[in-house]
Symmetry: C2
DNA sequence: TTTGTTAATGCAATTGAATTGCAATAATAA
DNA sequence: TTATTATTGCAATTCAATTGCATTAACAAA
């Protein structure tokens, strides 16, 4: 299926670009595009970006998905293996520099990581 | 609120005991107690265990919660900070030995971790 | 043992996010 | 300019999780 460029995609892409290291939830994005497009479209656009590898998707322990533009990712070599942090007070989620390095027991093969630290950010601590 | 010991709690506790290092999903547990109790009770029992710190709760990237008895946990000193692994093929989730160690940037305070590695287990790889 | 309090349970109803179906719209290749 | 089909909006649906409430039963106190 060939993708097409649309206003909806561009709008969401711009929003994600403007929030490079702070992953946004579906909800966050919906609010920013309120009125401009349907919430179903937001789902579908985010999913297509994710499928295409343009963004990464974090499931936080609040049960919500957060999306962020891929940094340091080349076409075929994604690096989504950094830690994320979620503040219990202000709810903000962000990407941490530190990479996840695990020594898996023999025989295990790693495909992806979803690592989240929960706590309080400097502003809220 | 004082807790009471009930058959439902004992049944679920036994199931979790029998699956110490393999966290079970709500669904898994429901199947094991099918007929014996209502699914709402399963939710409530698991939540009470979690609130009381008897079990830990992992949100996997399949969007489901998994529950496991706390290992190496003393009353007031929980250690849930190990990695978990989920197999993309057989769906099994398990606790890994390795602890999560992150160097948080200055000012950040860590409360809990939810770290999941996804991939293929030895049986499925 | 009996009784009173209230935690725990089952059932039905509700919530709420995510998904799906389908018709209308619009991007893009021919 | 036209044909194809990806995209979108809207309504409806799905499904897990949660809530309200009446009933049941654990357990502390008499």
């Amino acid at each position: 299926m060939k993708r097409r460029n649309t206003a909806a995609k561009q709008t969401i892409l711009d929003i994600l670009q403007a929030s490079r290291s702070v992953p946004l939830s579906q909800e966050d994005i919906e609010q920013k595009v309120a009125g401009k497009m349907n919430r179903v479209t937001v789902y579908r656009v985010l999913n297509s970006f994710y499928e295409d590898g343009y963004i990464h998707k974090i499931l936080a322990d609040d049960g919500k998905y957060y999306f962020a533009i891929c940094l340091n990712c080349r076409e075929d070599d994604h690096h989504h293996d950094h830690f994320h942090f979620r503040c219990l007070n202000c709810q903000k989620v962000e990407c941490l520099q530190e990479e996840v390095k695990v020594q898996l027991p023999g025989g295990y093969r790693q495909e992806s990581v979803n690592c989240l630290i929960t706590g309080y950010c400097p502003e809220c601590a």
